[in-house]
């Protein structure tokens, strides 16, 4: 009886245990179901994705960047090279896991109180590497190596940086590099960059970016979680970039920069027979090394900031050509037979279209007296060219000047070239909204008014006189890799009478050689025969008819930025010119005493070098 009761209670207990177990089994079953479904999802449904991901983890494709192409001069002198710096990298995927390591880097490797500034890590893929510290000093490098166990995920990498041994000297020729931006990606869509890349921003660095960059290679390596390379799987070697050799003459370039002496201005020297540029200086300039991060400090002193040190005045600065336009108008007058060599006018210092009309004053109050074309160029008579221009009409002037690349881009191998303005009737209607007046044409007669020109364009047009009509494309790069760049004839101005070139050239020679020439101060007995023309570009118009020219100038001179720009164009030596020089000194006032000596110095120096070379 007792056994039976025990039996019953035992079986009751077992039944209850089984009931309650079933409940727990049900709960567990639900969890098991969730787990099994998840495992199937991982291993069956999404296994491809995870496999790819594990391969991405394991295999990293490391780009092999070829060192950027060098920029040299034709004699082998280095203009831009690459120097080695050390940097610390971390794989993006490891950042969140390695906060402590990054804190250690902060604590041991950088100054107290400063923190690492990481770039926007969202832009990176998991396997890409982020630079956390660049340009390590020797001390930092030593500390990094000694305490490696504090930052197992951080790796050391060498990085090449662009360095210009001559610092500022070539800033407006070579330009500088900068970090990749969205706009750059559009500009160079054929090159694949990864965030943080440095690429050419201006100058030759930008124009020849794709050639100087080369094509990056790739090596596939197997890595462990710390990015340690286990073995190399395959390798695609990079394609070496091309080196550039420039036509620039180092001594000429240095002299030009020195002579400008930091004043705002531009100097360009070009071989008229080939278009190769021998000197290109825009002032003020800057130190590209600072922007290339190969040197620390400021790229230019702060007080130069308002003078736009990044602005390349040679190719982008538009100035009134002023009196340097006169030889071209003279040439046009001769071509159209509006004048001949002997046509004379009486220059009384004032020009009027008719008795009641506006008075156009010449720079010389009392006038030049009886003036023919030769004298008009040599003494730079304004009145002569007022009259000539009014007879030529704007249509002819504009068409003719256009042949000499006034108002057209020259196609130099630099970025941001300005085309400047060669006005005509439709231009004025479109841009000023007014009809063309005869007065506008008269102003153009002395290179003032709407017309502007860059020093580069001016150098090209003057070269055309030197070569009797041949205009070559201006070029900086003479050797691209092994390929020799040939001179490129852009246009040949065909004159009705070839003799007219000589007439103009003679007058331009006399500008220096004649006792009455505007640049006679440069004349040396038995020296080189050089053709030149001065120019003084007015910024402020002389408006007050009552004051004399001199009196009015006094008021304007008081403010420096209102002072005239000094221009000088020249080529030589005659009869076989090998250099054209254009000098613009902003607010320099006098073409003959400020700009011309620089140009002359360059031509003379160049002759010595050429003679020495031969």
């Amino acid at each position: 009886m007792r056994i039976a009761k025990d039996l019953r209670s035992e079986s009751n207990d077992l039944r209850r245990l089984k009931q309650r177990s079933s409940f727990l089994f049900l709960l567990s079953g639900l969890l098991i179901l969730v787990g099994v479904l998840k495992i199937i999802q991982l291993t069956v449904l999404e296994t491809r994705d995870y496999f790819t991901e594990s391969e991405n983890n394991r295999i990293i494709s490391e780009p092999i960047y070829p060192a950027r192409g060098l920029i040299k001069l034709m004699d082998g002198q280095i203009v831009a090279e690459n120097i080695v710096t050390q940097e610390l990298l971390i794989k993006k995927g490891l950042v969140s896991k390695s906060i402590d390591e990054l804190k250690n880097v902060e604590k041991y490797l950088i100054d107290q109180g400063t923190s690492l500034d990481l770039p926007l890590i969202e832009n990176y893929k998991d396997f890409e590497k982020i630079t956390i510290l660049s340009d390590l000093t020797d001390l930092q490098l030593a500390k990094f190596q000694v305490n490696k166990e504090l930052w197992p995920s951080v790796e050391l990498n060498t990085r090449l940086r662009r360095f210009l041994p001559h610092k500022n000297l070539f800033s407006h020729v070579v330009g500088h590099l900068g970090e990749l931006t969205k706009e750059d990606v559009v500009y160079n869509s054929e090159i694949k960059y990864h965030p943080g890349s440095y690429l050419g921003k201006v100058g030759l660095e930008r124009r020849y970016e794709s050639q100087m960059r080369g094509i990056r290679g790739i090596k596939k390596v197997e890595v462990d979680v710390f990015g340690n390379q286990i073995r190399e799987l395959e390798r695609l070697n990079p394609v070496r970039p091309l080196n550039l050799s420039l036509s620039i003459d180092l001594d000429l370039q240095m002299t030009a920069r020195k002579e400008l002496g930091g004043r705002k201005g531009a100097v360009i020297a070009i071989d008229p027979n080939t278009g190769f540029i021998k000197a290109l200086v825009s002032s003020p300039d800057y130190n590209p090394n600072v922007l290339n991060k190969s040197e620390s400090g400021l790229s230019f002193s702060l007080n130069k900031k308002i003078e736009a040190p990044f602005f390349n005045r040679v190719i982008s600065g538009s100035y009134p050509p002023a009196s340097t336009i006169k030889p071209f108008l003279g040439l046009l007058g001769l071509e159209n037979s509006v004048i001949d060599q002997n046509t004379e006018i009486d220059d009384k210092g004032i020009f009027q279209i008719n008795e009641e009309g506006r008075k156009y004053r010449g720079w010389k109050e009392e006038g030049h007296g009886k003036v023919n074309l030769h004298k008009a160029i040599v003494e730079s008579s304004d009145v002569y060219f007022y009259e000539l221009a009014s007879k030529l009409t704007i249509d002819k002037i504009s068409t003719f000047l256009s042949l000499f690349y006034f108002g057209r881009e020259t196609g130099i191998d630099l970025e941001n070239e300005s085309s400047s303005i060669l006005p005509d009737k439709s231009w004025k209607l479109g841009n000023v909204g007014e009809a063309w007046f005869v007065g506008d044409t008269i102003n153009i007669g002395i290179g003032q008014g709407y017309i502007t020109i860059t020093p580069l364009q001016l150098a090209l047009s003057v070269s055309a006189i030197a070569t009797k009509g041949k205009i070559y494309k201006p070029k900086l790069v003479q050797l691209l890799g092994k390929e020799e760049i040939k001179p490129e004839l852009l246009f040949e101005v065909d004159l009705r009478d070839e003799e007219n070139w000589k007439i103009i050239e003679q007058s331009m020679i006399s500008v220096i050689s004649s006792w009455n020439g505007t640049a006679h101060n440069l004349y040396t007995e038995g020296g080189l025969k050089i053709a030149g023309k001065t120019g003084t570009a007015q910024i402020k118009s002389l408006v007050d008819q009552e004051l004399t020219v001199k009196e009015e100038y006094e008021g304007i001179r008081a403010v420096e930025k209102n002072r005239d720009h000094a221009l000088f164009v020249c080529y030589g030596p005659i009869p076989n010119p090998n250099l054209t020089v254009v000098v613009v000194v902003e607010n320099g006032e006098s073409g003959s005493s400020v700009a011309a000596p620089i140009a002359m110095k360059l031509i003379k120096q160049y002759q010595k070098e050429v003679v020495a070379d031969v």
């Binding site: 056994i3 025990d6 039996l7 035992e10 207990d13 077992l14 209850r16 245990l17 089984k18 309650r20 177990s21 727990l24 567990s28 969890l31 098991i32 969730v34 787990g35 998840k38 495992i39 199937i40 991982l42 291993t43 069956v44 999404e46 296994t47 994705d49 995870y50 496999f51 991901e53 594990s54 391969e55 983890n57 394991r58 995927g93 969140s96 896991k97 906060i99 197997e222 890595v223 462990d224 979680v225 710390f226 286990i230």
Partner: protein
């Protein structure tokens, strides 16, 4: 107390003597060998997961030997004989938990470890098994049914352990310890009215617990439970690497010693808590299925022993241990595949770790000792 179990034909049958045999010594041969197989499988995988470290494998083999020896020793005992010891082992567990709070091992951020010099262990790993066994022993210390007070005392005992582990602080393990305590109470037949009473108390206290007792990171961890994408603790990287390993293994795996995630150290703690990911990556879904079948077989044997056992104490103890074993497997697997947050639970009998192996084998010793010879 040496009450003879009823229906014990064996003792009354003169033809079947208690002679020495495999089944006499090993109690349940099938269970014993399936345990050996899974231990062997564990060693096999540990060799791969540890980066082919002979040292780690040898250490593990030493622990397995100790564990097996203890298991077989316990298996020879009569459950009645150690019931009292089991009940009072609770105090030992309590002592360890308090000791670790007062005098934690140096070099760890939390006070979870006791360092014995040659060996350090976490008391919470021991209490996971001591607690349920002592509770069963307590509830069935007399022949009569547990009284109301018994149920409440047992619950409080579990709560105390929960609180001490939570203080380490380790909320995840505290919950697991507490659950291990609740399983035998539930299985032993705690009346539903008491359960309802507990639920009412819990419900009324929960706002207070949420705002006052939980630390900020624990609150975050509970929240991640519902939103695994949010990742305030930075454990997401571990889990995502683990998932990548499991997923990339696919159906058949990448081959033994050839798992890229495992061999190149992308899986964190690959030899201990995350060894499951290594198995999945190298042996694939098929390998996992074989492992699950083995586990399933072991659990089935445990419940078979439980249902055939002679006393309530034995039955409840056995099935509690069975559920706890299942619970640990589930928690580890669900953690590694990213369904529940990361808590420190090794994969039973496979993961590297002396305490875990020895404690689990001891538990199987208890189960084996309750096997009734048929």
């Amino acid at each position: 107390m040496s009450r003879r179990p009823p229906l014990d034909y064996q003792i009354n049958d003169p033809l079947v003597g208690p002679s020495f045999s495999f089944s006499f010594f090993l109690k349940d041969v099938a269970l014993f060998f399936s345990i050996l197989v899974i231990l062997g499988f564990g060693i096999f995988m540990l060799y791969s997961a540890s980066g082919q470290s002979i040292l780690m494998v040898s250490r593990q083999l030493v622990f397995i030997s100790i564990g097996l020896f203890l298991m077989l020793a316990v298996a020879q005992l009569k459950p009645e004989s150690y019931k009292n010891i089991l009940m009072n082992s609770y105090w030992l567990g309590l002592l360890l938990l308090i000791y670790v709070l007062i005098n934690p091992a140096k070099g760890y951020e939390t006070s979870r470890w006791i360092d014995l010099g040659f060996f350090s262990f976490q008391p919470s790993e021991i209490i996971r098994l001591i607690l349920p066994l002592s509770i069963v022993a307590f509830l069935f210390r007399k022949d009569i049914k547990p009284s109301l007070y018994d149920w409440i005392i047992a619950t409080l005992a579990a709560l105390l352990c929960f609180y001490l582990v939570y203080k380490q602080p380790d909320l995840g393990t505290a919950i697991i310890v507490f659950t291990s305590g609740l399983i035998p109470i539930f299985l032993a037949g705690i009346p539903y009215r008491i359960i309802i009473g507990y639920l009412i108390i819990l419900a009324s206290l929960s706002p207070y617990i949420w705002s006052n007792l939980l630390l900020e990171y624990q609150r975050q961890r509970v929240l991640t439970l519902f939103d695994p994408e949010a990742d305030p603790l930075g454990t997401g990287w571990n889990i995502s690497q683990s998932k990548t390993a499991i997923g990339s293994g696919g159906l058949t795996g990448k081959g033994y010693l050839s798992g890229t995630q495992s061999q190149l150290d992308f899986i964190p703690e690959s030899h201990s808590d995350f060894i499951f990911s290594v198995i999945a990556e190298e042996l694939g879904l098929i390998g996992l299925l074989v492992m699950f079948l083995l586990y399933g077989f072991i659990i089935w044997r445990v419940f078979r022993i439980s249902y055939q056992a002679g006393t309530n104490f034995e039955r409840i103890a056995c099935s509690s241990l069975g559920f706890i074993f299942l619970l640990f497997i589930l928690i580890n697997v669900l953690m590694v595949i990213g369904i529940i947050p990361v808590v420190g639970v090794p994969l039973p009998l496979i993961s590297q770790g002396g305490t875990s192996i020895i404690v689990h084998l001891l538990a199987f010793g208890v189960v084996l000792s309750m096997k009734r010879s048929v």
